[in-house]
Every structure is written in C-alpha cells, then in structure tokens.
Symmetry: C2
Subunit: 395 residues, 2 copies
C-alpha cells in the first residue's frame, strides 16, 4: 500500500472544474479549526450568507452553502419542493438537464421535458407550448450554463412564463455563478444552486443555494416530509438562522473557511470587472482556437465565457492530444460527455483560471502539439489572434 | 458587511467533534488542486480505499469516502438498502439512534425501535424479542458509539442475531472509528459509516463508508431506484471502481487530500497503540473529573474512551462554566443534547485531541473555575488523580 507523502503534480486547471484556487483560499483552508457552534464560526456563517448574496444578486434571507457538491445542491433544489405526483417542466439540452429530470423522477415527481439539441438553448416558445399542454406544474427547471455543451440559457422570457403560470422558477447556476450575471431577484428566480469549484474558484465540496420567500413557503407547506433528512432545508434552516442555530449536522468547517475567502475575492474584484474578465479571456481563446480549426459548438450570443466547448476536427486524435496536454504541459482540459464524447473539448476559463497568461499558455501548447501532429503549418497564428483581441481592449 | 480577514481564535477542541487536526493534515488541505479525473487523483482515491480498510478492519472492496458529513453517511447507509415498506430494527438510546429511525421513516421504511434509557446500551435480549415479534426485517441498525451519551454498544451478540435471522447488520461508527476497534469483518458488520472529524482527526465533510458483498448484492437487487441520485451507491461505485471511473459528481478534492493524510497518521501510529492511547487518556480524565464531583453517565465497561459524558452537579451552572472555558481558556467541550441538556458535559478526547497535555490543561482550567465558583476547596486533586493514572502506566 502506498503510504508515501502525496505531492500533487502541478496542473493548470482549464477543464470543466475544479478551477484554479487562489493561494489566499488555500491558506484559509489550512487554518486551525474551531467548533461548528463556536461564536466565531457562527459569525463566519453570517459572513458567508452576506457574501453569497453578492454573486446571486439577491436579498434572499435563505442564502446558504449546502454541505455537499453541486450535485447535492441540485438534489436539495428538487426534493425540498417536489412531492410525489408533482410535475416539473425541465429543459433538457445536455447532461445536467437530464440529471435534473432523473432527480425529479427519483423523488416521485414527473419530469415534463422540453428538449433542444445539444449545443442549443431551450426555446421559450417551446416552454410556453409545453406549459399549455402539461397543465399545472410545480416548477420550471432550467440549466443556466450547460457545462456539457457550453450553452448559455437566456432566462428572462422563461421567467415571465413562470410568473404568468404561477409556478416556481428553478435555475442551475453551477457553472455561471461568479462568471456571468445570475440575477436572482431581477429575473425572479425562486430556487438557485451552484457549486464552489467553478467560477467561485474554491475547492469542490459545497453548493451555494438561495431561495425566495415564495419558495420557502412551499417548503413549509409540504404535505409529506422531505425524503432526505440530510438535505431537508426546513431543518438546515434552523442551523443557518441567527438566534436559532440548532445543531443539524456538523458543518464542513474548513471548506466554509475557504468559501468565505473565495467570496471575498469575488467581492473585492466586483461583479462587473469579473464578468468582463471572463468575457475577454473567452473571446481571446476562441479567436485563437478558430485559427486551429476548432469551432464553438454553440452559436454566437449563446456561448458561455467560462466554459468554451469547441468541436475538434476528426483528423485530430482528441483524447491523445488531451492526454499529452496533461502529461507534457500540465494542462487539464475536458473532453466531451455523452453524445459529444470524442467530438469536443470543453475548456474552462473559470474564476482564477480565466487569465490572459493561461489562455496564451494553452494556445501555445496546442500550437506545439498541432505542429508536431502535422495539423498546423504556421505556428503563431493562434497566439497572434488571441493577442489581437487583448490589444484591441488595451488600446 | 464583514470583509476582513478571518482569523480563527485558538481553540483546543475537546467537544464531540470536530477534534484537533494534525498540522500535516492542514498542510495536505492546502495543496494545489488537481482534477477529479486526473490520473494522480485516481491514485489518491485508491490509497484512501486501502487506508480506510485499516480502521474498518475489513477487506471489503466497497470502502470509500462519501462526499458529505457523517449524517450523509447515515443517510446513504439507509436509503441504499431500505425500500418502501421494509422494516428495520433500530436501537434507540440517544440522539443518533433516533436520527437513524427518522431517516428510515423518511425513505418509506418502517423503524422498529428497541429502546434503552439514555446512558445505557441496547440489550441483545430485547433485540431478540423484538425480532421474534416483528417478523422479517431488512436490517438491524445500531449506534456503536452514541455521541449524545458516551455509551459503547457491544456488537457481538447482536451480530449473531443478525446472522441467525439472515438480516443485514448496519452500524454507526461515527465516533468510534479510529479510537475503538470497529471490527467490520470479524463481527460481521454489513454496512458501516463514520465521519472524518472524530477519531480520524480530519476536518468534517466526508463520511467513510464500507459495505460487505452481501450488502452490495442487496443494492444491486433493488426493486426501485434509490430515492437519492447524489447518494446512490450503485452510481457512486462506478467512480470509485478502478477501470470504470465514470464521472458521477465532482469529488471534494481538497478534503480527500486531507483524509488521505489523516489516515496515514492512523496507519503510522497503528491501531493497538491508538486504542490504548484513547483508553489511557480517558481513564486519566475520568479520574480527575471524579475528584471534581463529575460522574460518568454510562456504567463502567460501557463507557466510550473518546467521548466522556459526565453528569454535572446541579449546583454548578454548566452553561456558564462551559462558556468561560471557551472564552477564557480557549477550550471547547460539549453540552448535553435533548433530555440531557443542562445536565451533562460531553468531553471529547478524539484522535489528536486525546493527549496527556490536553487532559491536564482541561483539568487545570476546570480546577481554577471550580475554585473561583466555590465548588472546590482543594485545588490539585483532579490533576493529581489524573497524574496518578499516567504514572501507573509509566512505571
């Protein structure tokens, strides 16, 4: 059995997450622990609630970090609201929409799918038609940033439909939070969850979560108890509510230290600057990738700046190139999932990963590998195209 | 909003968890991240599986760390095995037995309680009678180390009953693992879960979990899918199985770094030495506490060495003394839960918290506070009694 010291290899994380973590966040992780009911820790929980409201752009009282990864956030967002027999209309255009449907079905709900091809967003007109056909639904569930395809889901029109039909709007903001506007209050999102290891650049393990008072009243009026004790937001609320602080489960202390620090970095940078940075680095990356023959899967205007999903030409052995990126250059990028396996790359420029130097380092590595493979004859074109994007902004 | 640097106050953690964390574990936490599908990370997962088998004393192939706290481990241990209508016999003699019953009921199971007063263990004869009355049950569920009362549950006789009645044996080893023998294979435990922040001295956030092939076959033969997608061990298995490694959810990378290092420390010390250390420090602590008029709730032979639950005389304002221990001495101990609230202290000597110097520091602080309160006239008696225990061993 290996009992040696574990020295993680140096990696530049440009996949679908985890993203690079700031040294300040790593330092926060390694601080000595206090108890989960220590007054100092309860103060830290208050800080996290306040700081989380910034990227969620909300005043929701119920804004917390769930003690599990983004998938636990998804599950909590379904099972607290959906009771046996409830229908939920769910947009499916990638892995995570499908997962939403699976979670809905597992808790006894009925998933009413509104589908779009992988690489396209869900059409509000199709949602409207489905709503007319389906009868009352408990919620509309959509993935804001589909990590499997790099597609951005516009929310405004669908939010209007949710209001008209008096149904909850549930949004998966796992990949968008902190990198794109997630305007919970302005749009009228009732239930929203995310993950820490994407644009918040914190290690994976927590799921930021917020819900409106309207959503909270649905939780409180349930006919049956939530199937899960661990993810029962009615119970979890007692621990996160100042004045109550009833023990529910032991909070993941160190991870919450880290999240607080990661959220401070978000607050210090400011959302407008952060969003502009994500956009700029994506534009530069895409400009470079186009020169290498890699084209975005999503059409212009629907592309995620933090998750760049590009089609890899058939002549390029994508898995081999990805493996060489990792082993020779220490750069991780993501492959395709499901029907896109072997056909696309998913390049994450999330949070701390989204910098000019990371974009240039990746393009340089790809140029070298493409020249070696005989798929590029004029090295420098990708870097040049990216540099032109940066210089356009700088001057 | 507070946006200052968070500097945790210095605490000596002698409560029911989290326990003190070794600097090597804190250092591991702060290592730069790699991706959750990185070959280096998959190697680390193999290491964790091998290392976890040591404190579980098992060769079970399915031995992993669940991505949630101990309560998530409890939930996973129920919902993967219990289907709607299944009866589970559950020992209830404290908070965590009650929680097991609640989780069983929430997933549509029927909890058949076998109760004992708080402070006593579950009587195997009562289990046998209950089994005769109840008809077939899917499992016998017991808390090995009841954190709310400090009571140890002997398992051998109940394990024999489980075999005789051909039912699964499910054991909560949250507080015992790494501090007391948890002999999964010898005893014949089918399903066992724990937490990282107790005797493994890792921060909270993961739930070590192991199951026998017999238990795994029950999972694989389910009539209905597990209600939870996140905690579905059938799906999680695909990620933890070498050769498969199918993406399920993003693993909590940093926490798994920490767990590997904490488990290495367990392996380096060795189980016999670790168990003896927990026993010795508990004996010394109890000897000292008796001099202060604090008597163990559980009777001799059924006391947990890592969680010392003692009755506080009525004349002592327990909450106030606990608060002063925290603020003046930086020492955290736990109060009572449920019916024991205001009546007991729960003093944890778990993992790194279980040392001679911690015992003496606590007794010294208590002596000072008791002298100030007028509840002790001869300072030094508690320290002296503890020292006699240590010197008996040393000479």
């Amino acid at each position: 059995m290996a009992i040696h010291d574990f020295l993680p290899p140096r990696r530049l994380l440009l996949g679908p997450g985890p993203s690079q973590v700031h040294p300040r966040v790593l330092r926060a992780l390694s601080a000595p622990l206090v108890g989960h009911l220590d007054p100092a820790f309860l103060g830290l929980m208050n800080d996290i609630q306040s700081l989380l409201r910034i990227p969620f752009q909300t005043v929701n009282r119920f804004t917390i970090a769930i003690s599990g990864t983004g998938s636990a956030g998804m599950e909590a967002s379904i099972i607290n609201f959906v009771e046996p027999g409830d229908a939920v209309l769910v947009g499916i255009n990638g892995v995570f929409g499908s997962r939403l449907a699976a979670v809905i079905e597992r808790c006894g709900g009925k998933a009413v799918p509104v589908e779009a091809p992988w690489g396209e967003s869900i059409d509000p007109n199709m949602v409207e038609q489905a709503l007319r056909r389906s009868g009352p639904v408990k919620a509309l569930a959509l993935v804001h940033a589909e990590t499997s395809t790099g597609v951005l889901q516009p929310l405004d029109d669908i939010a209007t439909l949710a209001r008209q039909h008096d149904t909850l709007l549930l949004v998966d903001a796992v990949t968008s939070l902190g990198g794109l506007p997630v305007e919970v209050d302005r749009v009228g999102i009732d239930i929203c969850y995310s993950a820490t290891q994407k644009c918040l650049s914190c290690p994976p393990g927590l799921a930021p979560f917020t819900m409106s008072d309207r959503a909270l009243s649905v939780v409180m009026r349930r006919r049956f108890p939530c199937q899960s004790w661990y993810l029962d937001m009615g119970l979890v609320a007692d621990y996160w509510t100042e004045g109550s602080r009833t023990y529910h489960h032991t909070a993941p202390v160190s991870m919450l230290y880290a999240l607080r620090e990661a959220l401070r970095l978000v607050a210090e940078e400011g959302l407008p600057a952060r969003f502009a940075r994500h956009r700029l680095n994506s534009d530069a990356l895409i400009a470079g990738l186009l020169e290498l023959g890699l084209t975005p899967l999503a059409r212009s205007g629907q592309r995620l700046p933090m998750l760049n999903c590009v089609t890899v030409p058939e002549r390029i052995p994508e898995a081999e190139v990805r493996a060489r990126l990792l082993t020779q250059y220490g750069i991780e990028i993501g492959g395709g999932l499901g029907p896109l396996k072997g056909k696309v790359w998913r390049i994450g420029l999330m949070g701390e990963s989204s910098t000019e130097s990371h974009v240039l380092r990746l393009l340089n590595a790809l140029e070298e590998l493409f020249v070696q493979g005989g798929w590029l004859t004029t090295p420098g074109v990708a870097l040049g195209a990216a540099m032109r994007v940066y210089s356009r902004i700088a001057h």
